[in-house]
């Protein structure tokens, strides 16, 4: 990904030098493997810290909410869609932004790789030509095809190229069709279960949750000044690790993202205990597509379906 990194640096330097933007948001190399850090540069000198590879999985749209500066921002397909959602929802103005578009080749799943490693991962190497990822640590070294260790949301992604951008760092990548990607296979698996099995599945899914709210806070959609779980008057939900309260939090958070979620995977990536929070959100994404023909963040004009009314909106749930 050196070519991407170099190009990002080149564009960022130019933008800052020509005073087109006040800051450029991207990633710098992390202090631990598989984890790059969201970072902003305000001077040309700082630009050299920027990096791009398969470990840039946090969604940068998170960092532009309500900012007043002119911002240059690095954005993949899903990140650009979240920026579009932000523009629609009035959290940033389009003309404040200079979007450096990344034709995305997917992020690697840090949970999957950690589970594969026979010990702690000390370093990760990516071979672009071979398409492999090599993890190594004390007494082990393992190479795998990148395709096998992609984040699940990346492997089923149908919007890899930015939908909104001012300049691309490379030629667009080929998109998968929805037929090839089959993005809702996992949702269908759950849909096929009996109600009690579904209930048990989500019980098990959430059994490790420590309510740290990393999933919520890593999500660019969760920008409410006060989340419903934090409200105390009235208090909507208990604050302990009681399973009912944990499930209520996840259910309602997911629902607040309906029609806005771009399946960027930041929630899953940020979870310290590896919960696949997308089991909630992906169902809503599928419903929005099937009921309203809607995909979030494909343009900056249309408001999300749950925010608007059309006479032809489905209403067969009313009996």
């Amino acid at each position: 990904m050196k070519s991407y990194t170099d190009k990002i640096k080149e564009i960022a330097k130019r933008l800052l030098k020509e005073d087109k933007v006040d800051m450029v948001i991207g990633y710098r190399k992390g202090t631990v493997p598989l984890m790059h850090q969201p970072f902003f540069a305000t001077s040309e000198g700082e630009v050299d810290s920027f990096v791009w590879d398969s470990n840039c999985g946090l969604n940068l749209a998170n960092y532009i909410t309500d900012r007043k500066e002119r911002i240059g921002i690095v954005a993949t397909g899903c990140n650009s869609r979240n920026i579009a959602v932000h523009v629609v929802e009035g959290k940033i103005q389009r003309d404040q932004l200079y979007i450096i578009g990344i034709p995305c080749q997917g992020m690697v799943d840090r949970h999957k790789l950690a589970a594969m490693a026979e010990g702690n991962i000390a370093s990760v190497e990516e071979d672009e030509d071979k398409g492999t990822i090599t993890i190594s640590g004390q007494g082990f070294s393992k190479s795998v095809d990148k395709a096998e260790v992609l984040q699940e949301n990346c492997s089923i992604c149908v919007h890899r190229n930015p939908v909104l951008c001012d300049e691309l760092v490379a030629d667009e990548v080929t998109e998968q069709t929805r037929e090839q990607a089959d993005p809702y296979a996992r949702v269908r698996e759950i849909e096929a279960m009996s109600p009690d099995d579904k209930w048990a599945h989500f019980d098990d899914l959430l059994s490790d949750c420590i309510r740290c709210y990393a999933c919520r806070n890593a999500c660019p959609l969760c920008y409410c000044p006060q989340c419903f779980v934090d409200e105390s008057n009235p208090q909507w939900v208990g604050k302990s690790v009681d399973p009912t309260d944990i499930r209520t939090f996840h259910l309602l958070r997911a629902y607040h993202c309906a029609g806005r979620c771009t399946d960027c995977g930041a929630c899953v990536r940020s979870c310290p205990v590896g919960i696949n929070v997308r089991d909630f959100t992906k169902k809503l994404e599928k419903d929005c597509l099937e009921l309203y023909g809607w995909e979030a963040g494909l343009n900056t004009e249309q408001r999300p379906p749950l925010d608007t009314y059309k006479p032809e909106d489905p209403e067969d749930f009313i009996k």
Partner: protein, 359 residues
């Protein structure tokens, strides 16, 4: 103090003998990661584990703990009078706890066991527990225990320290509690005169394998206000990526802050103590609506200033961190306490710079 030899063949049968007197808790592989869990009959702790995702602090200090309950039935004599729920503090043994995690309990104890106030829940659970530590021969790349006042063979808060020595453990029995447990398990084979040296030898090897360290020598002499006000040099830039989740505080073995919540269910009232996190905006929100730590920069500064400066000044006993590296590994946006510690340690108020630059 004596050193005994526990043959690995006798390990499992020893544990079975312990069950009549102790509830056993040990590292168990769950879906993907290890966690400390009560060991069911016949279940063995996985002593080949590296470390758990969430620290074992919850064994003594659960994330949510019922501390009081009351009746809300007006006809009851004790209507609305809070009482302690009945709880048994049966003897527990934590098996295979890492020395860094064990050391964290002595740090946390400074908060829960003071002259003025003794936290009954924490202390009862702590006192009922025997700590059987497993020395760490394979430190992770993120481990910096030896420069954070702990170490891979640190035994300052253990009752027994086990060192893996091939087909057997060498066990340093450090306290009376430890002796009692060893006797109950039937582990008594003398390890010989050289065992102590052997452990020291292994300790040196383990310490030299630690690649990561923090500098803490100047933290105490730094001016608190200088560090607090180093907004441009440190806090603004470091806080940028922070998303204000509670991961760092919840996986940390030494974070002790909590929040007390009342819940009502039917005709019963429950008072529950939950872990809280200084990363949350609610943590310092006043009833008036004012929040003295209103921005994430304030909150991030609080977390690190508490661990690396306020605590250092108040207790004069090093930093409030044992170097387990969990927050470094698990922070979703790679905020690294090692980097921040080195920045604070090297901060020069004259030039407003640190040796580790913020960019």
């Amino acid at each position: 103090m004596k050193v005994i030899k526990i043959d690995k063949n006798e390990w499992a049968s020893g544990l079975e003998k312990l069950r009549s007197a102790y509830e056993l808790i040990g590292p168990v592989k769950e879906k993907f990661y290890h966690a400390f869990q009560p060991l069911e009959s016949g279940q063995q702790p996985d002593m080949d584990y590296i470390n758990t995702r969430v620290s074992p602090k919850y064994v003594i200090y659960p994330q949510s703990e019922l501390i009081l309950e009351c009746s809300l039935n007006e006809n009851d004599e004790d209507y609305k009078i809070y009482k302690e729920p009945e709880k048994e503090y049966t003897p527990k043994a934590i098996l295979g706890i890492r020395p860094c995690d064990a050391d964290s309990f002595s740090l946390v104890r400074r908060n829960f066991d003071t002259e003025e106030y003794k936290d009954p829940y924490w202390l009862r659970a702590y006192e009922a527990t025997t700590f059987v530590g497993l020395a760490c021969d394979q430190p992770c790349p993120t481990c910096f225990c030896s420069s954070a006042g702990s170490g891979p063979y640190s035994d300052s808060n253990l009752d027994i320290l086990l060192a893996d020595n091939g087909d057997h453990y060498l066990a340093r029995v450090l306290t009376e509690k430890g002796e009692k447990l060893a006797a109950a398990a039937g582990w008594s084979q003398d390890a010989g005169d050289e065992a102590d040296q052997q452990i020291d030898q292994k300790k040196q090897e383990a310490e030299s394998a630690i690649q990561s360290r923090v500098n803490t020598d100047k933290l105490a002499s730094q001016s608190l206000l200088d560090l607090y006000e180093a907004t441009d040099a440190i806090w603004e830039k470091e806080a940028f990526s922070c998303i204000n989740c509670g991961t760092c505080t919840f996986v940390c073995p030494t974070c002790w802050c909590f929040d007390v919540q009342d819940e009502v269910s039917g005709k019963k009232g429950y008072r529950i103590r939950n872990w809280d996190s200084c990363m949350y905006p609610l943590f310092t929100l006043h009833a008036s609506g004012h929040n003295p730590r209103g921005t994430k920069v304030d909150r991030l500064r609080q977390r690190f200033m508490h661990k690396l400066k306020y605590y250092v000044d108040k207790y004069e006993n090093g930093i409030q961190c044992t170097g387990c590296g969990r927050c470094v590994q698990l922070c979703p946006v790679n905020i690294d306490i090692r980097r921040i510690c080195n920045m604070l340690n090297s901060y020069d108020p004259e030039s407003c710079t640190c040796e580790v630059t913020a960019s």
